[in-house]
Symmetry: C2
Subunit: 328 residues, 2 copies
Amino acid sequence: MPNIWQMTSYPEGLPRAGDFRLVETESVALAPGQIRVRNTWLSVDPAVRWRMERATSIVPLQPGDFIEGQAIGEVIETASDSFARGDLVSHGQGWRDVAVVEQAHARRLPDIDASPAAFLGQLGIPGLTAYVGLTDIAAVTAGDVVLISGAAGAVGLAAVQIAKLQGATVIGSAGGAEKCAILRDFGADATIDYKSGTSISRQLDAVAPEGIDVYFDNVGGAHLDAALGSARPSARFAICGMISEYSATSPTAMTNLRRIISSNISIRGFRVGNHLHRLPDFHASARTWTTAGRFKTLETIRHGLEQVPSAFVEMLQGGNQGKMVVRL
Amino acid sequence: MPNIWQMTSYPEGLPRAGDFRLVETESVALAPGQIRVRNTWLSVDPAVRWRMERATSIVPLQPGDFIEGQAIGEVIETASDSFARGDLVSHGQGWRDVAVVEQAHARRLPDIDASPAAFLGQLGIPGLTAYVGLTDIAAVTAGDVVLISGAAGAVGLAAVQIAKLQGATVIGSAGGAEKCAILRDFGADATIDYKSGTSISRQLDAVAPEGIDVYFDNVGGAHLDAALGSARPSARFAICGMISEYSATSPTAMTNLRRIISSNISIRGFRVGNHLHRLPDFHASARTWTTAGRFKTLETIRHGLEQVPSAFVEMLQGGNQGKMVVRL
C-alpha cells in the first residue's frame, strides 16, 4: 500500500507538522506505459513551499492534494517497453514510498560515476538549474564577477563550481561560518555570511569593491536589493529562486530598484521546467567535470518517509549543506 | 550676463524653493569650436531630481553646481564652422538663459513640421526614449498588450502612440480623469487612473484580465509591483524611469517580485544616453508619423527663467500634460 504525504492546510509562514498528513492509499493496477517505482531517495524542494499557498503564481496545491517532488527509485513492476524491473530511474512523484509513473516522465540515471542521491541534486534538476541560469540566462564569461546567493544549497553549490569552470570570480553567500567554509572548499573566491550581523551590502562592498557583473539569485529580498546596489553597468541577473520570500508574510522593502535604470541591468527570471531540453548538454558537461574531479557533490541526508516534512522545513530554514535528501 | 540656476542644497523629498538659487555669471569669450546660444525653450527633466542626491547612482550634483537640462535656442555668436548665427539648435545646457555649447554637443533641429517646444518633448530626447524602450528594449510587436505608466508625460504620450503604431493594445496609466481623457485622445485603448482610489492592480485586472505582455515603466513603486502581478509568461519590462522613487524617503514595498520567476519575466533598465545613435532612425519615423497625423504633440508651458524650479517641482508632482517646458 503506497504511503503518500498530503498537504492538509495552507501554512502561515513556515510550515508546521499539522500542515501535512501521511496517508495510506490503494494500490492501483498499471495502465499501459506506466511503471511502478519503489522510491529510495526523495528530494525536498523549495518550490513546494511556493505551491503551498492559496493565491500563488505557480500551480497551487489544494488541501488534501498529494505533494510532489523529485525522487529516485527502482522499477518494481512495468507496463512499459522502455523500462524493465530493476531499472534505476528519476521522476517527479516524490513525497511517497511507491509511485506510479508514466514512462514519459521517468528517466534512467545518466552514466556518471556518483551516488544515486547526487542525481537529485547537483547531477539532477538543481544542477541543471545552475547550468541554465549561468550559461543561457546570465551568459557568464571569463572575468565576470559573479554573486551567488543560497550558495551552500543544491543549486548554489553547483552554480559556484560551474561559474568557476567558466573562469569567473565567484562570491558565494550563505548563512554561518561553517557553510562559508564549504563554499571556499568548493572554489568560491570570497564569501558573504548573511548571519554575521554585518549587512549583506557592506560585506559585498568589501569583497567586490568594483561591483558585480552577474547575480544568480536563490534568495530574493535583502540579497536581491544588495545585488542591485552593487551591480556594474550592464549587469545580468538570473533569478532562480526567492526562498526568503516563500514564507514571508509582509512585502519586501527594496531600496535599490532604480539602479535597474542607472546601471542598465537586465533581470531575467526562469524556471528550469522550461529548459529541460538542456539536460543532455548539462549531463555531458557534468560527466567531464566529474571525471576531472572539478564537480564535487554534497548532500545532507535524513532517513525515513516520516521525516520528509521535517527535512523540508529544515531545508527552508537553511539547515542543509548541499542538497537535502531523504533516504527511504 | 548669463543667469543660471544652481542647486544650493540636497532636498529632502520634494525639492523646495530654497534648494535652488538663480545666479548671474560672467560672460566668457568663446573658445574655438564653441557657440553661444540664447535659449528660448527649457526642459525640466525628471532625471534632474535623481541627480539632486548625496548618494546617487547617476552623476550627482554638488551644492553650488549649475543645473543642466535639455534646451532649445538660437545661436547668437559662433566660433564653430558647423553653426552660423541664427541657427536654431538643441543642446544640454538648460536651466539658464544664455549657454556656451561645444559644437559636438549641439544639434540642428530636424526637418519635421512642429513647434520648437516639441523638440524638447516628443520629437526630442523623451520621444527617442519611448522609441528605444518599445522597439529595442521591449521589442513590442502587433498584438502585444502594453502597459505604460506615467503615460500622460512626455515620454509616456510618445510611448502610447508608438505602441499603437506597432499594432499593440495600449493601457495608459495617469493621475486623474483629465489626463486619462488625454490618453484616450492620443489612442490608448484603456486607462488606469492611479488617483481614483481603486488600486492599480484591481484596475489592471479589469482592463487586462489576461495580463500584459509589455510594461513600459516611468513610475516604479506600486505601478511596477502591479505590473509584475499582471505579467503574462515571458513578459518584457522596459524600465525607463521611477519618478515615484526619486523623492521617496522610505523603501519600496514589493509583493510580486517572485512573479519574475514564475512568469519568467525579463526586466531591462536603460538610459537613453546609451542609445543616442538611434536618433536619426527615430526622427525618420517621427517625420513619417507626424506627416500622417499619427504622432500628436502636447506641451504644458510655463513662462520665464525664474519659473524653472517651480515648473520642475510641478512636473515631479504630475502637474504636466505632455512635456513640461519653460518659454523664455
